[in-house]
């Protein structure tokens, strides 16, 4: 960047009162995870019709019922139109220009056969596979583009009775579980992108924690979009039976791209009586460059169903990547005394746009939900919290508290809050509060008077702003999330 002729924006920026060279360098930093692994992909040609859906299903050796399920979803998708209600400016997406399946050519039979280059990619990203996985104590179901290439710790998990595998494998080996739960939380026709995902989902993770089992380790999937112009459509299904508990981590980075890549994932969680699921995400996909060129389009449907009494589902997310984020991890609080939580940090810089939030649907009695949302906007980023808290008639004693705070860094960004509160039960208590402000001059001045540089001061203040969410993250994620925010925000002040 430094060797190029400065663009108009850069020149303008250097004229800003507090601009300095270090700030410039940091602002123009390249996406660190931006590299492309050169592995031949076996992709389907771009386009989408019933033939493509059948081809995907055939390549995955799926049974007839699965193919039919996909086709039903595809037919429904054809009748739908993309949603326009989000506060996002998106050029129309040509769904026929996308290839709906790609996988590394040499299909590995075990981890040892995995292409070294692939492992190298994970290495660069810090994915703890092989011995590293063992050392880190994390079981990883790594998804490279669309096919699981290796799953570790299967045996240890199997001993505990936990099933952790790719969803394709689950379709073949545990069809009764998949048939019972797939689409039971997010129906195929739920929304435009969920329908698309249901038709063409490539792979993803399947977790089943049986009755009474506390999953012995934290489960983790590292997604990575790789092949050019290939949408990735993961499908994750996680079931915790009565009294089971599990913590699941999901993290994402993707190589640098010029064209927008489409990503439409569906995550379904099912918690039966007394079960508890903690789902954490750090999302750092390529956000596009400072002019908004490239970047991932991220349209995700995540929903947890607290089906059983006293069940608990907790979503924690740190969203720093993607050009477009459209994502509302939700909880359906069906069981009496069930609990839903949503903790989120979303950061938009340059021309990133995020429209994210949650839905808490209170159906059972004495259901409780808590929402903490922290939005940070910098550059020309647009950050929107959109949330629904709905208390149905039968939800006596329902309780919700929502806090959404936005922090603005710079003159050209935006921070927006669209909460929907619908209450039909007079025994419910629902509270929502939101604030928007820029980084306090007083706090900055205090830090600076103590000899702390402006960059560090901003970083400290932002860290404090997000602390409530970070403390919900598992340790290794918290460290990564903190670093991500620091890096993403360097130079945003001025």
């Amino acid at each position: 960047m430094a060797t190029q002729t400065p663009t108009a924006i850069e020149i303008e920026r250097t004229r800003e009162p507090n601009g300095n060279a270090a700030v410039e360098a940091a602002l123009n930093r390249r996406y660190e995870a931006g590299f492309v692994t050169d592995i031949e992909s076996e992709s389907l040609p771009p386009g989408l019709d019933e033939g493509v859906v059948r081809a995907i299903s055939a390549r995955k050796n799926e049974p007839e019922w699965m193919t039919e399920w996909r086709l039903a979803a595809f037919r429904h998708w054809l009748t739908m139109t993309p949603p326009h209600w989000a506060k996002l400016e998106i050029d129309p997406i040509d769904f026929q220009a996308i290839s709906y399946f790609s996988q590394p050519k040499n299909r590995p039979k075990s981890l040892d056969e995995v292409d070294p280059k692939l492992l190298e990619t994970y290495d660069k990203l810090g994915v703890p596979l092989h011995e590293r996985a063992r050392l880190a104590g994390v079981a990883v179901d790594a998804v490279f583009d669309s096919v699981s290439v290796g799953t570790t710790f299967r045996k240890e998990l199997a001993a505990a009775g936990v099933i952790f595998c790719s969803i394709s494998e689950a379709v073949r080996e545990h069809p009764e579980l998949v048939r019972k739960y797939l689409g039971s939380v997010v129906p195929t026709g739920d929304n435009y992108f969920a329908a698309l995902n249901s038709a063409v989902f490539s792979d993803g993770s399947f977790v089943f924690v049986p009755r009474g089992v506390r999953c012995p380790m934290e489960l983790s999937t590292y997604f990575r979009i790789n092949a050019r112009d290939t949408g990735q459509f993961e499908r994750t299904l996680l079931i915790a039976e009565e009294g089971a508990s599990v913590s699941y981590l999901e993290g994402c980075t993707a190589p640098m791209r010029d064209e927008n890549q489409l990503h439409a994932a569906v995550v379904e969680l099912v918690a039966l009586d007394d079960a508890s699921i903690k789902y954490s995400t750090v999302q750092n996909w390529y956000p596009g460059d400072e002019n908004g060129v490239g970047g991932i389009y991220n349209f995700v449907t995540k929903r947890g169903d607290c089906r059983g009494a006293r069940s608990k589902i907790s979503w924690t997310q740190v969203e720093t990547g993607s050009a477009i984020t459209w994502k509302y991890p939700s909880c359906v609080l069906r069981g009496d005394d069930s609990v839903g939580e949503f903790n989120s940090v979303a950061l938009t810089h340059h021309r990133q746009q995020a429209d994210t939030g949650t839905k808490m649907i209170h159906i059972g009695r004495n259901t409780k939900s808590k929402i903490v949302s922290k939005g940070i906007s910098a550059g020309r980023g647009q950050n929107t919290y959109r949330g629904l808290v709905k208390v149905e008639k039968g939800a006596d004693g329902a309780r919700n508290h929502t806090q959404c705070d936005s922090l603005l860094i710079g003159k050209k960004c935006g921070a927006h809050t669209f909460p929907y509160i619908e209450v039909k039960n007079p025994g419910a208590i629902v509270e929502h509060e939101a604030t928007t402000s820029k980084i306090s001059e007083d706090q900055l001045f205090y830090c600076r008077s103590r000899g702390i540089g402006e960059e560090d001061a901003v970083s400290m203040i932002v860290d404090g702003f997000c602390k409530q969410v970070f403390k919900e993250l598992p340790m290794e994620f918290a460290v990564e999330a903190k670093k991500l925010l620091e890096v993403s925000l360097e130079g945003a002040v001025g």
Binding site: W85, K411, G414, E422, K424, I429, V430, A434, K438
Partner: protein, 421 residues
């Protein structure tokens, strides 16, 4: 086309000057129709039932029909009474007040037509208002003038031959530094099921100050769709009290633009609903200039089978640095069949801002109830005391006589609450 529009958009005898406006509005309505369930602005208010109804276009007997209305107490500089959308000379009263000009537009169709076109209607109900308009009024306060006693505008809905649909356009203009107190009173003469559309625009010049009270006590069976559009120049201040207790279906779009530096908007509102009432308030405040402020506190009580909807959106435009925006919405849900939907929205495009909003939905505080009962108040009375206090918190600042009237009115509307378990 819906039965509603079919019944209203036919041929009718009207001043030629208004024909063009009406034709354009009808064309727009035929093209666009009324908002449907997928329209975000009408998410919580269904117009399905309304669209199935048929109305008579205007009340030809409005100028002579006897009405029985209790006017608000207290002195006034002028009282303008409209019955089913038409001005009633005999009920109105206005003395000569220096600096205050009241222009009735029913007899000046050219001016009314011009007013209906500028600005053009903002939505389908704005078009309906323009299509049905036969009368209007313009209230002007000269620059620097201070009008001491309030001006009252009384909108009376009265039973006519069949259910009538009527509309009225009101324009309120304050010159630079002018001051006015304005009371808008929506009241039913007797039970009726009319459809009323009122569009009011307020223009506040630099440094002008408008104290506005909107008391909506329309007839129980009626439908009332209102739009209040305020634009404030530099240092102008609008202080608004809104009380909504009437109508079967009431929708109020309150749009405020803080266009000049230092403009301020303060708003206190309350709705108290019972029966099958549905009241939808949609407030949109936009900070367009530097150092503008808004402070909004709205409270709602929904009892029996009623539904209260509140949407409070604050937008701070790029460049409107120094904006200070506060919104609080608190609601009491008193019945298992009632519903409250609230949506506080912030859209911030500038960074030197302080913006906060809060919304709650809950019920009476058990401890407060217990306290009152331990002092010997029966449960029913204790409830009424607490609900009255809840509503009263946003009524401070009303003139004592008016406050007493509003308190009494609220008391008749507030719970005969069913016992909560």
């Amino acid at each position: 086309m819906s039965a509603l529009l079919d019944s209203l958009l036919g041929e009718r005898a009207a001043p030629a000057a208004l024909a063009g406006v009406r034709d354009a509005a009808i064309a727009a309505l035929r093209d666009r129709g009324l908002p449907g369930p997928r329209d975000e602005a009408w998410k919580y208010t269904s117009l399905r039932a309304l669209e199935q109804r048929r109305y008579v276009d205007g009340d030809c007997g409005a100028r002579t029909r006897p009405v029985d209305v209790a006017f608000l107490p207290g002195p006034f500089a002028a009282r303008l009474v409209f019955v089913n959308g038409l001005h009633r000379e005999g009920l109105s009263a206005a003395g000569a007040v220096t600096g205050l000009a009241i222009e009735r537009l029913g007899s000046r169709p050219d001016e009314l037509a011009a007013l209906l076109r500028s600005p053009p209607p903002a939505d389908a109900f704005g078009e309906l208002n323009a299509a049905l308009a036969l009368d209007g009024v313009r209230v002007r306060v000269a620059a620097g003038a201070r009008i001491e006693a309030p001006v009252q505008i009384v909108h009376v809905g009265a039973p006519a031959d069949g259910d009538v649909a009527w509309s009225l356009r009101v324009q309120v203009e304050l010159g630079a530094g002018a001051q006015l107190r304005l009371v808008e009173h929506h009241v039913g003469s007797a039970s009726n099921a009319n459809l009323a559309s009122i569009v009011t625009a307020y223009r506040l010049g630099a440094g002008a100050r408008l104290e506005l009270v909107q008391l909506q006590d329309a007839a129980d069976g009626g439908t009332l769709v209102r739009r209040s559009d305020a634009m404030l120049e530099a240092e102008a201040a609008l202080d608004l009290h809104t009380i909504e207790v009437g109508a079967q279906l009431a929708r109020h779009d309150l749009v405020v633009g803080l266009a000049g530096r230092g403009a301020r908007f303060r708003s206190r509102g309350v709705f108290a609903l019972h029966g099958r009432q549905h009241v939808d308030t949609r407030l949109a405040v936009t900070h367009l200039a530097r150092d503008t402020a808004c402070d909004i506190a709205w409270r709602g009580v929904a009892d029996q089978r009623s539904r209260g909807v509140f949407h409070g959106a604050i937008t701070v435009a790029a460049g409107a640095d120094g904006a200070d925006a506060q919104l609080a919405n608190k609601n009491l849900l008193l019945s298992a069949q009632a519903e409250i939907d609230t949506q506080p929205v912030l859209e911030i495009h500038a960074d030197e801002v302080k913006a906060a909003h809060g919304a709650t939905v809950g019920q009476l505080d058990e401890r407060a109830l217990f306290y009152l009962r331990s002092r010997g108040l029966p449960l029913d009375l204790a409830r009424r005391v607490l609900v009255a206090a809840f509503c009263g918190a946003v009524l401070d600042g009303l003139e004592p006589a008016l406050r007493a009237h509003v308190d009494a009115l609220l008391a008749t509307r507030l719970p005969q609450a069913e016992v909560l378990s």
